[in-house]
């Protein structure tokens, strides 16, 4: 069943891909016998053939994931999305402290340990990557704004 749903969704995507490949993509002029549209056309046909076989004869019937696990997975994905959204506004250090603590606590570590881990990952990670490895990580718009404000106060 799950196989069928997944293959069905992919089939819709592939059909859209095929429609674009067969109608929309065209080179204004070309010297080669094969234009930019031929390869995607071939691929879409092969993909559709595979998908039809899966639809006809699916083998995975269930995901085998318990309700509680779905909840945990959903929470993880949400946290990852939040982490990506906050990465630049809050900066690496703050975002990582929040994310590390939250995920660690959700996965079953004690609260104190999670907080220690979050801080260690955020601050330690920043020091390691920025000062030692010279990588580029966001400082955070919020922190920059505060730093600017204090710097201006100091100047004036």
């Amino acid at each position: 069943m799950v196989d069928r749903i997944f293959a069905g969704v992919l089939l819709i995507v592939t059909l859209a891909y095929a429609v674009i490949a067969f109608t929309a993509i065209k080179a204004p002029f070309q010297y080669d016998p094969l234009g930019p549209e031929s390869w995607p056309q071939i691929l879409s046909l092969v993909a559709m053939a595979c998908l039809l076989v899966i639809l006809w004869r699916p083998d995975a019937t269930e995901m085998g994931v318990a309700c509680k696990t779905w909840f945990r997975l959903g929470a993880t994905v949400l946290m990852l999305c939040a982490y990506s959204e906050l990465y630049e506004p809050l900066g690496f250090v703050l975002a990582t402290i929040l994310f590390g603590t939250a995920l660690c606590a959700m996965l079953g570590a004690g609260l104190v340990r999670s907080i220690v881990f979050g801080f260690a990952a955020g601050i330690g990670g920043y020091l390691l990557c920025v000062t030692l490895l010279d990588l580029n990580l966001p400082e955070g718009e919020l922190i920059e704004a505060i730093m600017d404000a204090t710097a201006q106060e100091g100047a004036s």
Binding site: V46, A47, C50, V77, C81, E85, L107, S114, L135, L137
Partner: protein, 505 residues
């Protein structure tokens, strides 16, 4: 032969540079640590660390040496969690658990670990020696390949992938096609026509290779870890003071040699990596030498066979990647992508155009092998301690590393959402028994496949007959056919024979 020696001399010149030497050691050490972590195999380790290695701004040869060290070390470290925990890090290490874990349970963990280290060393070294002999030969032969031959080669690669990897042929093929389709997104290089970009400027240049790799492997792995999350620690068997004996080595001598040869040649086959090699080696060895039915209960030969094959295959998989530009496994596909990011096109010309990179890598593998043996024998206790790192620290750490890696490439937070999305997609694929290696192989080979097909047809003026014109292509198509048909035929025959033996069934 001369070419090999001058090449090796160049290579050792590069690899023995103190900085590169340091990178080999650091890569091997980090790789073993990653490989030892339960559930985190070589492919995920390389995937997570690749963007960081890229962001460090090393030269191509140094970055590649570092990555190859990690790859190599992870193949090495995988046995630790297999033996002590009975949890294989990846598909290639499954066979190691069969005899390794029973040995550890009998209180011979030290013996099992040291024996497998020696077997891995022999397998790995054997592969590197064969590789330095074979690779230049294959490269000089491959120079004569025409675009039509490349198309045939690619068909062969995908055929062997579809028939040997994964549970379902159709699903593996579909995975490869998904990868190929992902690769068509972006501006077509020949005509400048945008394809499937929907006017989004972020993907005009195509989806970044690193994002696909980290998303499909790193993030999907993370979700799998969360799914299987067990609270508390996994129970690790203690490492004792027992050590490999000369008698063991004498007993395993031929096993190791046989398995190394087998592993190397299976590794060379495009698409098939360590997992197939170790399974075949274990099966063969069981058939040849399991006269007392001790395999599976802690037989030293049952441990040595998959370990030697595993590491030999890791070396063998590098051969087609370096000489033909067609990777032999998922992990080498990632290494190939890494080379492309440095604007180095792997393939037959690499040995003449960039001998420093090609031979530097080979030489670093010699050094890496010795280093791994030296690191592994005394420090195995330290690595074993990694096994007890609770999952609730490990999982967030993977996410943080992946985010650092992706953010440092271009500093675009949109990419972070993209890897999360691809991670969910990869997790679903894994849940439905698709293997992910074909997807990445398809993605890496997409443009090469398409360009060669178009070039071949330009040469012939649109006549598809060119694809079958010379003997090299025909041989390759025939091989592709054999690879697809043979397993089906063999399983039919096996079933028929079982039917004969058991009339009730």
């Amino acid at each position: 032969m001369d070419a090999v020696f001058t090449g090796l001399a160049t290579g050792f010149g590069v690899a023995l540079d103190p900085f590169n030497l340091f990178l080999v050691l650091a890569g091997c050490f980090a790789g073993t640590l990653i490989g030892a972590l339960p559930g985190l195999g070589p492919i995920n380790g390389v995937a997570i660390l690749l963007p960081i290695a890229y962001g460090l701004g090393f030269g191509p040869e140094s970055a590649l040496i570092l990555l190859a060290g990690i790859y190599y070390g992870a193949e090495y470290g995988g046995r630790i969690s297999s033996i002590l925990l009975n949890v294989p890090g990846d598909a290639g290490a499954v066979m190691t658990t069969l005899d390794g874990n029973p040995m550890a349970r009998k209180g011979e963990a030290g013996r099992a670990l040291s024996l497998s280290a020696v077997a891995s060393f022999v397998g790995g070294t054997f592969a590197v020696i064969l590789m330095s002999l074979f690779a230049p030969l294959l490269a000089s032969f491959a120079v004569t390949f025409s675009p039509a031959n490349y198309v045939a080669l690619m068909v062969f690669a995908f055929a062997s992938l579809a028939s040997l990897v994964g549970k379902s042929t159709v699903k593996t093929l579909l995975g490869a096609v998904i990868g190929l389709m992902l690769a068509t997104i972006g501006i077509d290089a020949n005509t400048g026509v945008p394809r499937f970009t929907f006017g989004i400027p972020d993907i005009l240049a195509g989806i970044d290779f690193l994002i696909v790799v980290v998303g499909l492997f790193g993030m999907a792995e993370l979700l799998t870890l969360v799914e299987h999350q067990v609270s508390g620690k996994l129970k690790s068997l203690p490492v004792d003071k027992s050590f490999v004996r000369m008698a063991d080595l004498a007993k395993c001598k031929w096993t190791i040699v046989r398995s190394s040869i087998l592993g190397f040649f299976i590794g060379i086959l495009p698409g098939t990596g360590a997992s197939v090699a170790s399974a075949v080696a274990y099966g063969t060895e069981k058939r040849i030498s399991d006269s007392e039915k001790t395999f599976g209960t802690g037989d030293v030969r049952g441990l040595a066979a998959p370990e030697a094959a595993n590491n030999a295959a890791a070396g063998g998989a590098m051969v087609p990647m370096l000489t033909l530009g067609i990777p032999g496994s998922g992990t080498t596909a990632i290494l190939l992508g890494a080379l492309l990011m440095f604007n180095i096109q792997p393939g037959p010309m690499m040995f003449t155009q960039r001998p420093d990179v090609a031979w530097g890598l080979i030489a670093s593998m010699y050094i890496g092998n010795v280093a791994l043996l030296v690191i592994n024998l005394p420090l195995v206790g330290l690595f074993a301690r990694m096994l007890t790192i609770p999952q609730h620290y490990l999982t967030p750490l993977i996410a943080i590393l992946a985010f650092i890696g992706i953010y440092t490439i271009v500093g675009n937070p949109f990419d972070l959402l993209l890897i999360t999305g691809l991670g969910v997609f990869g997790w679903i694929l894994r849940k439905l028994d698709f293997s992910l290696a074909p997807v990445i192989l398809g993605f890496v080979l997409g443009s090469l496949f398409e360009n060669n097909l178009r070039r071949a047809l330009s040469i012939s003026g649109g006549d598809w007959g060119i694809l079958l014109q010379d003997y090299k292509s025909i041989v390759l198509y025939a091989l592709a056919l054999i690879v697809v048909v043979a397993p089906i035929w063999l399983s039919r025959r096996a079933r028929a024979m079982e039917g004969d033996a058991d009339p009730r069934g």
